[in-house]
Symmetry: C2
């Protein structure tokens, strides 16, 4: 039996496969809010500075700082500057009431907050010839200079940046209404197995309902992929090949060609391994990764289209997706965000097989992680209680309660 | 000046507001994949056991364990049991080839993996009267008993559970095709300010582009809310009141009534605070939370509809959303998932004002967090680089490089 491939090496193989698939994709120009969760396609430079002009950080009085000596000064009050106005220049020796965010009048170089003035409120607009006593103030005080956030022409966001609320808010502040993003990959998702029925069908003896389709379709959608889901294939390779042919380029049913094929089941060493049989003659490796669950994996191309074959157990499918496909997508396309990784202490002792990277499901709360279910890959109810994947490296066979482990938050 | 309200007390006030809004909402029955990211509306009990029947965990031979003495035994091989088949009973003294996931034949109580058999492969189907030598095996070995994941009738998922891939996969395995979820809240999002222009408009002197609308709409969508966004309101209360009236119940433009109103800007103590002015006579508090940025906040009801008023600076808006609205939503409705919280060490020393909970933006990588930009609430480019909110409690005024802080991952 050949030496199993390491988790890192298999992930790198998936990265290479997705790199090829991604290179064939284009870009989309989307309204900002529709670009949420997608990856920026190009470097974006600021078409204007932020802030676009010097403005006040406080409600206060805009002054020339040189007009106020150390002991303070009584200054005549000029017309107020509301936010959004284009004020005239500040007359020398005057103080202009100014609102937070309002443009500094020409000549003014500092703001004295209204609560430091005497009187500590703005004069009513009806009052003529109002005056205010202000303390000394250093130049630049409570002024947000133009360009202090970003200068016109500077790199605002680099190609590949994941667009979340903060990034899209920045683009809006820069006056943009659309943004060019990488077109998402389109995945053909195909579950296999004679024993597998569509949910909703009548459950007959020896059959189970397909959970992999739902589990992976939602995982893929969450990761920003487009998903084309087929009917379940039974364990006859001809049927599987017919489905694949129908969905790959030049298809006659008007469907869009897919960029990646993902199957579940039929990749290990049993007698009826339909995916293995269907891929005969194609450049596809069926191999064993030193991981539990999710050891048996398929990888290659089918008629030139990148192909990934996950094992058939639902927990193995989820672990395969999270350990290989999702991180490779993050790395290659910039989306989705990688899972947050943290350290947590084990609530219980664990054992793990030597030479296998074990991925257990757990609930991590306040830095402590409890296992949900055993190592078994059929334990879906346990998976549904978990909020984290617990990573136990290949060379670790025993861990004590309180030992620190790496945890990926789902 | 009244004592500022604590962050926790203000969040609790938002929780109470949302509890009232949520109580008026119904439920939706959605196909499983469309329920992704939503909260389950009802307790769901398993309509069948998982696994539905005893099945094999390995490719191997199903046997009666009592048929094999300590030294092993040579047994005649009966018809193979593929996954999905309903096998007949196992003849006493026989061994049945069985595939992973296949139903255990009646009478069989253990599986010997094929690699432990002699010969260590399955006989070809054409071979008559095949025999196999098998080692002793304990009852139950490599059998997944019916109900070992969940028993029929047991609680599968509790009301309020956030539906991710694992939870939806479980429901599929239980044969469900639709699921009842809580109807998302519908938010009317309204940005205000004489200085604020729609992105794409010509930028004139003293004006800035509205980033709050994009920043909050995407934050809200990410959190599972429905968002109705209005045009920007200027600083005249009459205009704002007209927009509010148009969108609140009994409206004549066919729009759906909203459940919550969120505004930005116009809540602090300046001279032109449009939201404050528009809310005069309504049961709305305008108050100061002991938080920086995001101190000025409004909260109450407008014509009976829950109302939340955020301050006008974009960073303050994001911090207000993440500190108050998002966690309150998670707590009250079950969705979205709370932000992952972790501990990280500061890459630099920090100071923070006494009596204010400071929320800085940072980049947390490998347990170390670096600040992005200063404390200023206008620094959107810095925010766009950040992946985390750094929490500095009210009573902390100085932190050294290497000190541990709590970090919320965005």
């Amino acid at each position: 039996m050949p030496v199993p491939r390491s988790v890192a090496a298999h992930r790198q193989a998936v990265v290479e496969l997705l790199t090829a698939a991604t290179a064939r994709k284009g870009t989309l120009r989307l309204p900002l809010v529709d670009a949420l969760g997608k990856a920026l396609a190009v470097d974006l430079h600021a078409p204007l500075s932020l802030p676009p002009f010097d403005n006040s950080q406080m409600d206060g009085f805009a002054v020339r700082s040189a007009d106020i000596p150390d002991g303070g000064a009584k200054l005549p009050v000029s017309a107020p500057v509301p936010a959004g106005a284009a004020p005239g220049p500040l007359m020398p020796g005057h103080a202009a009431p100014i609102m937070t965010g309002a443009m500094m009048p020409e000549g003014a170089d500092a703001v004295v907050p209204v609560e430091k003035a005497t009187p500590s409120s703005f004069p009513e607009p009806s009052v003529q010839d109002a005056e205010v006593v202000l303390p000394v103030v250093a130049p630049g005080t409570f002024v947000r200079p133009s360009g202090s956030d970003i200068d016109k022409g500077a790199l605002a966001l680099a190609a590949g940046t994941l667009l979340g609320p903060g990034q899209l808010g920045l683009l809006a502040a820069l006056g943009m209404v659309k943004v060019e993003v990488r077109e998402p990959l389109r995945v053909l998702l195909l579950t296999t197995g004679d024993e597998v029925l569509e949910p909703g069908a009548e459950l007959t003896q020896g059959k189970i309902y397909d959970s992999n389709g739902t589990l992976l379709e939602t995982s893929m959608r969450q990761a920003g992929l487009e998903v084309v889901r087929t009917a379940i294939s039974d364990d006859k390779p001809e049927g599987l090949l017919t489905v694949l042919d129908r969905h790959l380029g030049g298809n006659d049913d008007g469907g869009t060609p897919v960029d990646v094929i993902v199957t579940t089941g039929g990749v290990s060493k049993g007698a009826y391994e339909v995916v293995r049989l269907a891929m005969a003659g194609q450049p596809v490796d069926f191999l064993h990764v030193a991981m539990q669950p999710g050891g048996p994996q398929g990888l290659g191309t089918f008629n030139g289209v990148p192909f990934i074959g996950f094992p058939g157990n639902p927990v193995s499918c989820l672990v395969s997706f999270e350990m290989f496909l999702r991180p490779a997508l993050s790395q290659v396309t910039g989306a989705p965000a990688p899972r947050p990784v943290l350290k947590a202490r084990l609530a219980e002792a664990l054992t793990s097989p030597l030479g296998k990277h074990q991925v257990r499901r757990g609930t991590a709360v306040d830095g402590v992680v409890r296992m949900e279910g055993g190592a078994g890959s059929h334990l879906l109810h346990a998976l549904a209680r978990a909020n984290a994947l617990v990573q136990i490296p290949e060379d670790v066979t025993e861990l004590a309660e309180g030992d620190e482990v790496e945890v990926w938050m789902l």
